[in-house]
Symmetry: C2
DNA sequence: GCACGGTTTGCATGCGTATGCAATGACGGC
DNA sequence: GCCGTCATTGCATACGCATGCAAACCGTGC
């Protein structure tokens, strides 16, 4: 027994010597200096260095400035990795998106970045690889112990969301929600938006409105459609046509519009599920030698920058992006004193109709069965 | 002496007891289990668990599958933070951008994300806050000990780049370079691109070409201009006008084009420093009741998605984004065996002219002093 | 049976910081 | 002068994992 311990002790000592020698040899090969090295130069303890960099710590102001000055001149910075290991907070927020193809997404991302960075955190961007489901790739993210996960324009199963939260990373959805599930979300009030569009088309005298959908089962799409349909119904206008584009893209909008325009009786107005689709639609209508808005009025959703450019001048519903982003970041509960997270609310924010040049005021007596314009195929 | 040591020992023992008690109380409050806990359940050592998750480690295949199975069922994942502390690699690549306003940027970002993620790393997105210089905010990034930094469409001082590299994070510029400095960069060959444009305009019979610049001192802008000017010179065509837009934006392009169009003698063709500007230009030309390309031909640079949309159909120079991204990620040298980083090269990649509908073939005998079209102010 | 090489596992230790607790110092009131 | 109080600092320790080294195990050839 005793012999064994002795042996072990001897070995330990030898090890220590070796380690120390090795460390000395390779010190300052790479990276900044450590708190301990800085402490030695200042004849202080490592704890004091740490306290100098911790806001709430008890430390003499003079000592702190002394440390800070030395840190600056020696290029010392606390190692965030080591810090995270103890505090269990990385100060990183993950943002998950499917892609950046739709101009709406970069707008959101940009605001998110600003908002997150100005709170002293960093943004880890995760794009879901095409063909993969988000539930399958989230675990890879969780390894990074991010403080929160914001999923924009995509959904997760509520089981997955729960498992994320269990690991310490609350999840918030943006621009999507899981109906009836307990995943907090921030979303434009798309139902109200759809209603606005219906009201506007009715108010401008349209009698043959059409809707071009994107992905049928996505809340964004579905709510806009429902609001639109319901309101039309209330106003006694019947939906003239309903096309499924398949995705939120220029091409999908273009093709759907082509189909609408080729009908014997084209609609007098089209509400597209998004701006990019609407712009595709405008291009298609023009390609068919029809005019927007004289022959067909067009309305989109989002108010992306292109919508405001002169060649389109798209009338659309603007999403209150910065308000939504603020709400979403708040919903992450990062600064909350971790006492009881607020209930898993779904926030709906009001959009606003932006009138530009793609909706024409028509006289109400326009007969439904008279073609608006002779249709030429080019 | 002896008494002192005894005292200390006693204290230590007490401390240990306390700590252990505390740990037991709070175990499993949050986060997944640790390697040690998993090890105990499997009656293995923590090292073995670690080895199961390390590819190159020496471990019995059966043991590894046993560990993996248990890890799956118990939800164990190695803590990347702790791992990074030892390996000194975070597997995070930082991407720095000024903004996402220009549609070119999201395109780049998307490809970067895919490329970085598929190499098993994560992307930390950093947007330079408006009004701040990148040199001043980089230190905040460096704290995160990212494996590499890719700066897109922005520049750093070469002093800063060196200091990053010294801290262990190599820097690569994308779509910008510091002439004569030792900062590696990947860039479209903008000089060649500018030359292509000149050749094309000359080949299609234009005699009064104009250039609309963005920010005069940015390499992207300057190289395109220089290539354009030199080649025009070689071809014996004299530059008709040179406007400074001030920034790469729709508005800047619009206003510059307005000024050009209001001249007594407008140009017969305009080369804009970027696609967004060119589109602004088209909108301006049309707003002035002139036609593109009949009255004025327009060429852009980048080939952003909007350029291909029917209402613009912009002829432009396409940047080989995925090739550039591949090169850039390779230049980060992430998988290099850390032996001598390759020389700080600047890679120039060839763009390609994409002909669409904004350049008109004119007859060469167009007299330079005859106005192309009567100019109406609306 | 034993020595030997190879494979697999365990043992210590350290990465760089935060933090509870004890120690020290400064100061005021009695 | 002594005690209590408060401010400041140092001492240990732990966070969760990777890794060098030694130990244990296993098979092979003699």
């Amino acid at each position: 027994m005793k012999t064994k311990r002795n042996k072990r002790n001897k070995r330990n000592k030898r090890n220590k010597r070796n380690k120390r020698a090795k460390r000395n040899k390779r010190k300052r090969i790479i990276g900044g200096i450590t708190a301990l090295q800085l402490a030695k130069k200042l004849r202080l303890s490592q704890s004091t260095i740490s306290r100098a960099f911790t806001d709430a710590a008890s430390i003499h102001p003079e000592t702190r400035t002394r440390v800070m000055k030395a840190a600056n001149s020696l290029g010392y910075q606390p190692n965030i990795i080591a810090r995270s290991l103890i505090t269990r907070r990385t100060n990183i927020v993950a943002v998950v998106m499917a892609n950046l193809t739709d101009p709406f997404h970069p707008q959101v991302l940009e605001q998110l970045a600003q908002r997150i960075q100005s709170s002293g955190r960093q943004l880890l961007l995760f794009l879901v690889p095409p063909g993969q489901h988000i539930d399958d790739v989230l675990p890879a993210l969780l390894q990074y112990r991010v403080d929160a996960i914001l999923i924009a324009s995509a959904t997760v199963s509520s089981r997955m969301a729960a498992s994320c939260a269990a690991q310490g990373s609350p999840v918030v959805l943006f621009n999507r929600y899981v109906p009836g599930a307990r995943v907090p979300a921030v979303c434009c009030d798309n139902v109200a938006g759809g209603r606005m569009v219906a009201t506007h088309l009715w108010g401008t005298g349209h009698v043959r409105p059409a809707f071009v959908a994107a992905e049928a089962d996505v809340t964004t799409n579905r709510d806009r459609a429902q609001g639109f349909f319901r309101r039309l119904d209330e106003l006694g206008v019947s939906l003239h046509a309903h096309e499924i584009g398949g995705e939120f893209s220029h091409a999908a909008g273009y093709e759907a519009a082509c189909r609408l325009v080729q009908r014997r009786q084209p609609p007098d107005s089209i509400f597209f599920a998004s701006d990019v689709m609407a712009i595709g639609g405008i291009d298609a209508i023009r390609a068919a030698n029809l005019r927007v808005p004289e022959d067909i009025s067009v309305i989109g959703y989002d108010d992306i920058p292109v919508a405001g450019w002169a060649s389109y001048g798209l009338t659309t519903v603007r999403q209150p992006i910065s308000q939504m982003v603020d709400t979403a970041v708040a919903a992450l509960g990062l600064d909350a004193p971790k006492i009881k997270r607020p209930p898993n609310r779904i926030h709906f924010m009001e959009g606003a109709l932006v009138e530009r040049k793609t909706v024409m005021r028509r006289s109400r007596d326009l007969r439904a069965d008279r073609p608006v314009h002779l249709y030429h195929r080019t």
